[in-house]
């Protein structure tokens, strides 16, 4: 049990840097498409690690199920909305950034 708890803690601590790097990417990347890329990393992997860590520490099965449901929802919602935003940006003829 202590092992699972420790493993969960490690997973949570692994997840935080993804969120932070998502923010940094959002701030530093040059154009909308690259920023989308950074954002989805935070969504998928960061939240995934946090959910995994919390699920490893959960005592009941329904908590695990709810955590996974939340993660799946965020995955679906963020990927779909990022797709829509990217498509709208392409339709607006926003040029992807290229190395100058």
């Amino acid at each position: 049990m202590a092992f699972l708890h420790g493993l969960g803690m490690v997973c949570i601590l692994l997840g935080i840097p993804f969120f932070v790097s998502g923010t940094i990417g959002l701030l530093r990347f040059p154009d909308i498409y690259t920023r989308l890329h950074a954002l989805t990393k935070a969504d998928n992997v960061g939240l995934g690690f946090v959910v995994l860590g919390l699920a490893l520490q959960a005592e009941e099965w329904n908590t695990v199920a709810r955590l996974l449901l939340i993660w799946l929802l965020v995955l679906i919602a963020s990927s779909a909305s990022c797709h829509l935003v990217a498509r709208a940006a392409l339709r607006r003829k926003i040029q992807p950034w290229t190395r100058p």
Binding site: V20, T23, L27, L39, L47, V50, V85, R91
Partner: protein, 87 residues
């Protein structure tokens, strides 16, 4: 031990607030919208961490609602603000 959860939540909150800068100076409207999207995801993570740290199951429901509605604003943006006109 449970202090770690709060610490992680605090880190996420600070990260989110840093992301606000992108809303303030995003060159295009979509950039601002992306920051709001990140806000939603981080909010979910913060709520989950707090629900563990404070031992409060209700927060998971709130996180669920956050996750459900996170996409709504972005979809409204992509379809209404930026979509529809040219096709």
């Amino acid at each position: 031990m449970s202090g770690l959860y709060s610490l992680a939540a605090l880190c996420l909150l600070l990260a989110v607030l840093a992301g606000l800068v992108r809303i303030l100076r995003g060159p295009t409207e979509a950039d601002s919208m992306l920051a709001a999207q990140l806000f939603g995801t981080c909010g979910v993570a913060i709520l989950l961490l707090l629900s563990k740290g404070l031992d409060w199951v209700v927060l998971q429901d709130i996180a669920l609602v956050f996750a459900l509605l996170a996409a709504l604003a972005a979809v409204a943006f992509a379809l209404r603000t930026w979509g529809g006109t040219e096709r």
